[in-house]
Symmetry: D2
Subunit: 461 residues, 4 copies
Amino acid sequence: MCGIVAIQGPNEAAKLTYLALHALQHRGQEAAGIVAAGPEGFAKHAARGLVADVFDHASFERLQGNRAIGHVRYSTAGGSAAANTQPFLVETMRGSLALAHNGNLVNHADLRRGLERDGAIFSTRSDTETLVHLLARARAPRFEDRLREALAQVEGAYSLVIMNQDRLVGVRDPWGFRPLVLGRLEGGWVLASETCALSLIEAEFVREVEPGEIVSIDEFGIRSERLVHEPDAKRRPCIFELVYFSRPDSQVFERSVYDARFAMGQQLARETGVEADIVVPVPDSGVPAALGYADEADLPFRHGLLRSHYVGRTFIEPEQSIRHFGVKLKLSAVPSVMTGKRVVVVDDSLVRGTTSRKIVRMLRDVGAKEVHVRISCPPTVFPCYYGIDTPTREELIGAQQSIEQIRDYITADSLAYLSEAGLHRSVGDEDPEQSFCNACFTGKYSSGRARIAERLPVLQA
Amino acid sequence: MCGIVAIQGPNEAAKLTYLALHALQHRGQEAAGIVAAGPEGFAKHAARGLVADVFDHASFERLQGNRAIGHVRYSTAGGSAAANTQPFLVETMRGSLALAHNGNLVNHADLRRGLERDGAIFSTRSDTETLVHLLARARAPRFEDRLREALAQVEGAYSLVIMNQDRLVGVRDPWGFRPLVLGRLEGGWVLASETCALSLIEAEFVREVEPGEIVSIDEFGIRSERLVHEPDAKRRPCIFELVYFSRPDSQVFERSVYDARFAMGQQLARETGVEADIVVPVPDSGVPAALGYADEADLPFRHGLLRSHYVGRTFIEPEQSIRHFGVKLKLSAVPSVMTGKRVVVVDDSLVRGTTSRKIVRMLRDVGAKEVHVRISCPPTVFPCYYGIDTPTREELIGAQQSIEQIRDYITADSLAYLSEAGLHRSVGDEDPEQSFCNACFTGKYSSGRARIAERLPVLQA
Amino acid sequence: MCGIVAIQGPNEAAKLTYLALHALQHRGQEAAGIVAAGPEGFAKHAARGLVADVFDHASFERLQGNRAIGHVRYSTAGGSAAANTQPFLVETMRGSLALAHNGNLVNHADLRRGLERDGAIFSTRSDTETLVHLLARARAPRFEDRLREALAQVEGAYSLVIMNQDRLVGVRDPWGFRPLVLGRLEGGWVLASETCALSLIEAEFVREVEPGEIVSIDEFGIRSERLVHEPDAKRRPCIFELVYFSRPDSQVFERSVYDARFAMGQQLARETGVEADIVVPVPDSGVPAALGYADEADLPFRHGLLRSHYVGRTFIEPEQSIRHFGVKLKLSAVPSVMTGKRVVVVDDSLVRGTTSRKIVRMLRDVGAKEVHVRISCPPTVFPCYYGIDTPTREELIGAQQSIEQIRDYITADSLAYLSEAGLHRSVGDEDPEQSFCNACFTGKYSSGRARIAERLPVLQA
Amino acid sequence: MCGIVAIQGPNEAAKLTYLALHALQHRGQEAAGIVAAGPEGFAKHAARGLVADVFDHASFERLQGNRAIGHVRYSTAGGSAAANTQPFLVETMRGSLALAHNGNLVNHADLRRGLERDGAIFSTRSDTETLVHLLARARAPRFEDRLREALAQVEGAYSLVIMNQDRLVGVRDPWGFRPLVLGRLEGGWVLASETCALSLIEAEFVREVEPGEIVSIDEFGIRSERLVHEPDAKRRPCIFELVYFSRPDSQVFERSVYDARFAMGQQLARETGVEADIVVPVPDSGVPAALGYADEADLPFRHGLLRSHYVGRTFIEPEQSIRHFGVKLKLSAVPSVMTGKRVVVVDDSLVRGTTSRKIVRMLRDVGAKEVHVRISCPPTVFPCYYGIDTPTREELIGAQQSIEQIRDYITADSLAYLSEAGLHRSVGDEDPEQSFCNACFTGKYSSGRARIAERLPVLQA
């Protein structure tokens, strides 16, 4: 998971990119970076940390110009070296080239071996560096044709923003796994992972970049072309973007994320209803589904779990403590809301089960009579090859244990998940041409190599 | 506003104090400090910043021992010098003395002048330093008697925790303006501003420290005594603790803060109901009142405003921007929730009006048809002399303009506040002996000097 | 050991103070601080570290005004707390008062006990804080009389600079243990520990402040008065200032430090001459004495030991190393200079012997045939009560072992010290009224309490 | 100018590399870096700053293993980006490859253009990255043959240390412009720019790596081979290494640097003697030549200029000051040494003249009667293409003005340089096969392309 932005047109493009990256911060908190194209060439500033910490006034003095691209990084894939912070910026025969990537290349290892045999040197283990090499080696005279040449060798998920000497380019893989939207800004254009980035900088949402589309922006205007190497690819947007990753105020894959989650909550109530007194969300991501659940079940919605605004990265625990405070530092329960109540707790995922177990205990400690855990998606059973950093199958509790075993582990009175069919219905997924990628629930991967991988007995993200 | 903690008993008292201060972080984000009583004497670590940033492993190596007191600071009163970070730690004839203070002394300037005339030197402008001087000069043989001697000279609001060579002491002023609770920890005792600090460290809530009570804890146990210098003082807990300052999961002044806010929202709906489609809170503090409003008005509650988790202290704005992004960096609106709707927005205060004005605009931008602003307390018209850092009267929009003028300024379709009577009813305030201090709404101050101050034409916090 | 500065007159007084402190950096590397008197009152900036690291542009924005005092601190006496960084800045009945101190008060503990009995509170363990209390309690109407009143209670070594609302004051104790000089700056006056601080800021040296003199500078000019409480005190400047502490380009106690050291080297050659081929200094402080030695002995002077410019505070050593690199990181020997030579190594002190031992080994490793160590002062046998942070008597190798034992320990072919008489002759000390304090060599302390202390069996600095 | 180190054999190779880099700190203060080959692959730590600041305990936890190479960087050629800090570390078909470089490639731009045409991407503008690409593309099966293949394309100055999966390699260009020495360490081998690095870590000096030699070290031992592509190259060590760059305690090009400088001073006295009273060096680099001058001229040597140990990178100057304190913060004059004297000041270079001008003024301010400036090398008139970061010809005062004009500018009573013949005589340069490169004095470049460059009218470093 990562977030990407590209801006063309306004002065101070880097500062607007920075604000847009702040709006995409939920897509990656590990590192942030911007490359700007100023009068004295391309400049890059990137570091580990949150957007607000990585950039200061000094960095913007270097990031001049009216074009910029940016990236926030979630995963540590590719190692944590400074050299590894995106956007990648390299010098090529045709001048400077900057590129930022959201997704994951399935055939990355093979491609890299081939490039190394040709004498290519690599600074990182990132699949994005492989993309940059392919692009630098492509021979066609037009940039868009070189991009086609490079991407024809690649299989997997990619939404990319690329900046070279004379243009900004946005491109989405033929399946459209990851989102990318186009916006209009007074005096220019914006590409971003989600519409919430457009809203913050007061850009107007124009449309999604289509799966397999190349959007080119230069001083003469904007053009659209298509990738041609996967003519039979079907649209397969990642359903987890709606369940979990995207921000509720974003429009993603032509749907309101908030409304989708609200509908998941309603469907969840229809499928898994239980006698109860109140519905409580795990904040903040569980709120829309909990509201939908309460609405459908006609139960009072109560904000009985509070989330702290002040949780830093490292918290120092007493050494002699048996129990760890982890979840308690982040969440706390309101006793007066819970005492004597039968509580439905709505969350949007259950990965290892440890957090849910602590939440159930917290609720019982303040007097909840019953605790019913409801998850607004099906169990995650298979790894994602398309850019989501899932735990290994061994760590996925959903892949290892039955629902009853999990319920027992988290000590809930009942546990239920939204069904696969129910999830698809919640997002209005009726057009088979538009069917979402749900491989993490079903193991049905869309692209060739990933289809092979799914047959392997032990799966590793 | 500040938060205070004292812990006696367990090893690693400083680490537990640190966790408790984290739970009180909402009471003060400017600075944090701890004094611990270790085998080699008292040690202090304090600095500007959040609790999680101020302390690291190195600081706890110095903060040894089984007794500690801590403080988080909100206001800049007394200047921002490092020397000004509480707890105060001084050396006196009777050994080391540490003290942390939540409140404000009304006759501070007079007391200080007198002390200076006697040759006392001051390192800060804090009223707390005056308290320390009075305590060091008191002559009685018992510590509690010296404390009485010192506090008899003082008028105003104070909840204090004090640590000397052999005991921890907690004390509340005779009016009980600021909260202070007592908890039991395996192997010891805790004093803290709110019960949420007890919950985090899994201490058991015992009871409030009473207004005018001195609680002394030493190795032999716990004792209670009383201050005697204001025999006629009436209990006057600050109603703003329930409206705004305390955490919803705390029990404050024998009430659940969450329930009190929910009741304020219900009362607000009864008093100021309006035709509308949805109720939306200003997160996070407006949530319980909005739920109460929606409940009473029987309108759908929607989480249509999102609060960012990633707002840093300083954000860099584009220089050429006409509009400032301030509020948008922190709050964003969910378009699909708002479009075409008549929206009731519930907030817990309206100080200068600038934030409300931006929220109203944000809602209209995403398509709200009507915006009705409801505030879950009366207008703040008078300054607080008891420890809340209110703007000057000139800055308080409620003191300068009519409600209609304010409505016009924030461009809402309607604006209404909870009434004074309604507020008191919401908190179940029927016992005149227990009546809350509401001077910030009414100008009726409880203590002598403040009563004089209220007659002055220009008021300054 | 510390360095002090006060500047009155020019705008940007704090920046000039900072430059002057840089010139005095050799007198203290542990911490640095400045208090400036600007239009909005006194402001202080102080921290641990070198002058160049402690101050930045932001600190000078706060340190406005045309009056400032500064301090560099050497010793850790009084603890290392931030509160302990000088200058002390306090608020008193008569307004702000700032004070910086070079020296040590012999009766500090008694005075402090008395003040604490009167209710005074202390923030540090520094004797300077005691001085500030005495000054704040003095009752005379004129500041200089209050200063006399305070200092009459004090015994020991002090050169002080003090700044209050309307004047700068410099004062030296009646014995004049520590230096203090007066300079004229275009548009104002300077007080500083050494003339090298005047040279850097291009101030003109006027004269020493006399032992027992009070120099007061205000907007009307400069006045001189005298302390009266020790009418029989004899001038006793610290001879170690000339041997070791002061900078060679300074004029201290009316002598050129460089010339004094050169003369010590000459005298050392006369007293301790030995057959040799070359004279090598331990850089940088041993250079002038080595030049004097070579001059008198008519031997070639060679710069055979190099000092690194890049030695940081903490250097990381290989864990598996038997030998420690300590001295080698700082000093290295030039093989071609040493090979086959009989070398006289001249240093200005020998405290624990460990450094000398490593230097001797280093010289032998690069081929020196003989190594003769010569020290340009007598063995340090007694602790200093007047402001020099000597090791305890137990650590002073000169107090524990015979010269032959020390020679054996450092593995030199010969070892010799300058005699006491020779040292006094080198500094032209013929006037008994001007006789230097040499208590660290002789145990003959000048002031009453120190005279008592000398009789105690175990001595502690 | 840069310094390089490689260590094979001992555990904690990185810590020994770090100590060796500290000894080479004078060769580069801008950045420092180490790559170590540990059990989990190669790890790199590098940053801007001094060696002691760049590395801490955490960095050594990552730099495990018994092989490491290191680099200190002087110049900013190639830009100041973090990616630009050496050693370069890349992944290739044959595994990880690390390389550190001292020198400069004359045909760098041409080579890079060719590589880019083949699709190579560059992260920096450094000529060293070009070397890495050439090495990754070479096809021979043996590493040393690939190295020959790569270096056959290169013209210029290079001393390199290279580490791959199984060996450490050191190589010097066929002319031997830059030094590189081989040392024996208990349990392994060391390669370093100068012998002073061997001394610090107590390695035994074995011999120089020869011009055109490849030294390979692996677990089976050490082998020597030769480059073959410049069979007619003559040995041309850089004479400036002896004049200025190397440390006086080093053995460089089979000479003692200290002795060479002493001899330059003696020759300078013979050629440019003048009636005078004392000889004073500009510390620290001018000391050996000044001692030689004083020896030959039979004049007293005096240490009349002091160098501060505490000069930080940025010093804050008073804004209203007409004069700048720059040189005075670093150097100060001893008045008693200078007053009334005719002074010979010996320095090892005179680049822009501004420092000399300030020194002359400083000496006159403290009373020098005459000031005669003597420089221990000829005027620098031509740029260096072999790794020294000289100013442009426009900035070189020696290339723009006559000696009399310069003397007038620096306000000295006389100014003289060592002659070219005298310089060569001082270093015992009688073997034409060993003649030093002196192109910066003469414009006679040794390699082909540089010979072309010398004919260009405007020269730029």
